[in-house]
Symmetry: C2
Subunit: 269 residues, 2 copies
């Protein structure tokens, strides 16, 4: 039993897909969320800069006395988890391993697609994770740099000609490979699920990296005896590095719950 909060960070809002699932699974746990909204996106930056930002994010959460940390950003999980986890002093989970395990279990034809930011794809992290689980699985990855700006500007509709044209271009190698399972290797991508499905067709199973990771972490914390055993609803605190206004509105949409009053702006630099 451990009464400390669970820490979750992301470059922006996307990590809230993991938080939403975590709240469903572990409603009585306290959660501290950090969204680096003043420097989002990470996915188009260099590995060196991603590491610098991620270290600041992790240090902020650790200073809040967390008992476990979720790096709910695929870019950081792919490019820098090995550099952050050892120094964290608490169990640290990225969003690469859990969806890789699920995709490896789901695929019937041994071909798994992965889509993510430029940095995530460049890192090869999903290829390595899936090879560790089952080296016979072929992994086909594709960078989708415009998916985050599309999702953030609210263009996610499967009827939107621009969204479909861009999705077709990006997903072409996935379709060509015949993959029957696709990892949405960026926490923003579930917002584009309908458009992605309409381009790929119904036969391809989509694996949401944020929600899958929350499932995994809930099991692991229970195993490690780290849950708080409380029967009252947990407290959630949200920290952002740009102003609160925009975040409150969007976060309430992501979480389907009102977060007003529990968001604070901070400076990491």
């Amino acid at each position: 039993m451990n009464l400390c909060p669970i820490g979750v960070f992301d470059s922006g809002l996307g990590g809230l897909t993991a938080v939403k699932r975590l709240i469903e699974l572990l409603p009585n746990e306290d959660i501290v969320y950090l969204g680096d909204t003043g420097r989002v996106p990470y996915g188009s930056r260099s590995r060196e800069t991603i590491i610098r930002y991620a270290r600041q994010d992790a240090a902020f959460l650790i200073s809040h006395g967390i008992k476990a940390m979720i790096v709910a950003c695929n870019t950081v999980s792919s490019a820098a988890l090995d550099l952050i986890a050892p120094g964290a002093g608490v169990p640290t989970f990225g969003v690469v391993e859990p969806p890789s395990e699920r995709a490896a279990a789901l695929t019937k034809n041994g071909r798994v697609g992965v889509i993510g930011t430029a940095a995530t794809v460049r890192s090869g992290a999903y290829e390595r994770a899936i090879a560790r689980i089952n080296p016979a699985i072929e992994v086909i990855s594709a960078a989708c740099p415009l998916f985050v700006p599309l999702a953030e500007s609210g263009r996610t509709d499967a009827e939107d000609a621009a969204v479909i044209a861009i999705a077709r271009d990006y997903l072409e190698p996935i379709i060509a490979s015949g993959a029957d399972t696709l990892i949405l290797g960026c926490t923003h991508y579930p917002l584009l699920r309908d458009a992605i499905s309409s381009v790929l067709g119904e036969g391809v199973a989509l694996v949401d990296s944020g929600a899958t990771t929350a499932d995994y972490v809930a099991v692991r914390l229970r195993e490690m005896g780290l849950l708080n055993g409380s029967d009252t609803p947990g407290e959630r605190r949200y920290f952002v590095t740009d102003i609160i206004d925009g975040f409150e509105t969007q976060a309430s949409r992501f979480l389907e719950a009102d977060v007003s009053g529990s968001v604070r702006q901070i400076t990491l630099e």
Copy 2:
């Protein structure tokens, strides 16, 4: 006569459109350029965060002993120029006034369109600038949040279905207004000039804010006696806040000149 360099900053690469023209007009001037590539884009952030970043950018250039500063970022020029210019200690030029003057001179029907980032449009800066020049001119503005990500991901082709679908949506109010002149109120947008023209038709004059500002600054520096009077080519130094590699390649494309060896990475925080 003044031998100090001219300082130019932008959130990223876009300001190089101003530098390119400046080099054409004033080949013997030294230039110090700062691109805040580690925190680009600014246009989707809050005014408060834009001001904080812009103050750091300006302080960096001023520490290099510049004789004049160009704020080659429409977002900063629109949201924060009044807060930066007074403390700069050198003549400081934004990219709002010069294109506003040119557009006011060019329009025949008194209707001028402005496109820019969300922050630029929200600021109303172009409306105010044009009203000061000629209050009879009607200004129709439209935010184009996906144009920067499109340009940065290399999707600028006028034959690209996604680019055209997005441009049509964004430019619809401009077309509906019958504007005969459009200010490209973001230094990235000249890369999308062909696509914008193909949607608007040939009858609409496009005003490039970066190049127009360089024209304006060259005239003003001469008037103020601030040119260096040298007859040898100027030295250009480029500073960025993310790694150099990506910048060198893209900058060489923007400037149509090789910048390798003259770029350095720095930290502003």
